[in-house]
């Protein structure tokens, strides 16, 4: 479904990603784990088009369509902008939630459906409220006045409004109480089982490996390990570095 090939990304002179290649298959939950500053968010921001790879040989392909780079034996280089990438069906819940604080919950959801041109239907709202009933009660409230957990729910619900095929989640557990984290991760599993493929970036490697099918480990901009989440959870290196053994 999604394929990254040899992606380099730099911030000025600093290399953030080096030759990153990874794959997400339809229906999976794929986790990307690693320490602070390893390049996890950078990877998601690059997939969404907020950052551009530095190398022309790199490729990002989603459902056979080039988000970045040129198809084999073609000289045309694609470099799609964020708004076009959402239209393809890749939606990102950014780190730190980033809801629109001065808009109501309802307006935030409407913004989530912005890429679809046509007005969202009642059933689109219902799907979001099915996962997050609390948002329904707070429909008219300004997003900036919601609690952290509710904002995270809104951020995910807002992304669902675009009817994504692939949902990119950046640190959904950040700054939340353990009980809430558990609740949100249950909902993420629900969203996945109702047909949305998920790519998850998490510092909490425990949780990430628990709910994902496969995972990649990033270290200073490179992928150093990959495999099924069960195997990775048993890997002594991973246990020492990320699971606190």
């Amino acid at each position: 479904m999604l394929r990254l090939e040899n992606i380099d990304v730099s911030y000025g002179r600093i290399r953030a990603l080096q030759s990153v290649s990874l794959q997400v298959k339809e229906g999976e939950i794929v986790a990307l784990i690693g320490a602070n500053g390893a390049g996890k968010s950078t990877t998601l921001r690059t997939i969404s088009g907020l950052l551009k790879p530095a190398n022309k040989e790199g490729r990002i392909v989603f459902n056979r369509k080039h988000i970045f780079g040129s198809p084999p034996n073609s000289s045309r280089t694609a470099s799609l902008k964020p708004h076009t990438i959402v239209q393809l069906g890749v939606s990102q819940v950014p780190e730190g939630r980033r809801v629109f604080p001065k808009m109501s919950v309802h307006e935030n959801l409407l913004m989530g459906a912005h890429s679809r041109k046509e007005k969202p239907l009642q059933e689109d709202y219902e799907r979001v409220f099915h996962h997050f009933p609390r948002l329904k009660e707070r429909r008219k409230q300004l997003a900036g006045t919601l609690s952290g957990g509710e904002q995270q729910m809104l951020a995910i619900g807002r992304s669902l409004m675009s009817q994504p095929k692939l949902l990119l989640l950046d640190e959904p557990s950040m700054g939340l109480a353990p009980l809430l984290v558990e609740e949100i991760f249950h909902i993420i599993e629900d969203i996945n089982s109702s047909g949305t493929t998920i790519m998850l970036v998490e510092q909490n490697a425990h949780l990430a490996l628990e709910i994902s099918d496969r995972a990649y480990v990033l270290e200073t901009g490179r992928i150093v390990l990959e495999g099924s989440s069960q195997e990775l959870a048993k890997n002594p290196e991973v246990r020492r570095a990320y699971l606190g053994d």
């Binding site: 902008k81 964020p82 950014p94 629109f100 001065k102 679809r116 675009s162």
Partner: protein, 292 residues
């Protein structure tokens, strides 16, 4: 007291003009944190367009106003393309200097095209005076206040209820997040420049009619006062710009009432300095939380 009421009406008319220009400053600032100093010159350009339409092509006031707005809109989009877009990734300071360059270019160009002298505006309609109670209001004032109020209401409805308006607000609140929602940021920036410019153009035509005087440097002072108005109201806030414009207009007229007319310009800028010292976020502005 009677005099004060009269001055309030005069101030309201003048303030409406400042408010229309201030909206451009505040909207563009809200979206990309840039002060586009060329708005004063777009206002001047709008006044000349209206003048040429009315004097050379003998159009009526509606065509002159709409024509002034349309051509100013085109000019605004052009400025965005040429002077801002190439600098989008560079520092705010470079972009700011670029807009100052554009404003000097436009006023100089107008001197070359139309000469430096002040030109009168042809009489588009009879200026009657109405007496309401014990103060007077002219048709010109009614038209200016009415057109400005209509445009501001239309802008408010547009920003609050339309899809594009919502996307503009989202972009102002969080540009990256708006992009992730599918908002075409480039198009929103261009639209914002376009709307602000057409409002400044409308202000120019109205001012040409009201003061019966159009000249290439008229935009400098008006632009700076509108900037002061936008800061007073809270830069980035649309209702703030409307309020700030009206307040600067009223203040200027009141300074004439109390026989300080030689200082009327100083009042506007005195307020600007005062606001920046005491409450930099302005009347309606929010505290700016710099994102880390």
């Amino acid at each position: 007291m009677k005099d004060l009421m009269q001055q309030l009406i005069n101030g309201l008319a003048l303030g409406s003009i400042y408010a229309l220009i201030a909206l451009g400053y505040t909207m563009v600032y809200g979206i990309i944190s840039l002060i586009n100093f060329a708005y004063g010159e777009i206002y001047m350009f709008g006044a000349f367009t209206g003048l040429i339409l009315a004097a050379t092509y003998k159009t009526n006031v509606v065509v002159a106003l709409l024509g002034g707005m349309m051509l100013s809109l085109v000019l605004g989009v052009l400025i965005e393309r040429v002077a801002y877009k190439p600098l989008r990734r560079s520092s705010r300071l470079s972009a700011l200097i670029s807009t100052i360059g554009v404003s000097i270019f436009l006023s100089t160009l107008m001197v070359l095209l139309k000469g430096p002298n002040t030109q009168g505006f042809p009489k588009l309609f009879e200026n009657k005076v109405y007496a309401i109670g014990n103060f007077q209001i002219t048709i010109y004032q009614i038209v200016i206040i009415g057109v400005a109020a209509f445009l501001m209401l239309a802008l408010h409805l547009f920003v609050t209820y339309t899809r594009t308006g919502r996307a503009m607000r989202a972009t102002a609140q969080d540009q990256d997040a708006a992009g992730l929602m599918g908002v075409n940021i480039d198009r929103i920036i261009a639209t914002t420049f376009a709307i602000g410019s057409s409002l400044a153009g409308a202000a120019g035509v109205l001012a040409g009619i009201y003061f019966n005087a159009v000249q290439p440097y008229m935009g400098t002072m008006a632009g700076l006062k509108a900037f002061a108005a936008a800061v007073l109201g809270g830069i980035g806030s649309i209702p703030g710009a409307m309020l700030g414009g009206l307040m600067i207009g009223l203040l200027e007229v009141l300074s004439v009432t109390v026989n300080l007319s030689e200082y009327k310009d100083a009042f506007a800028f005195g307020i600007l300095i005062l606001v920046l010292l005491v409450k930099p976020s302005g009347i309606m502005g929010q505290k700016i939380n710099k994102k880390v």
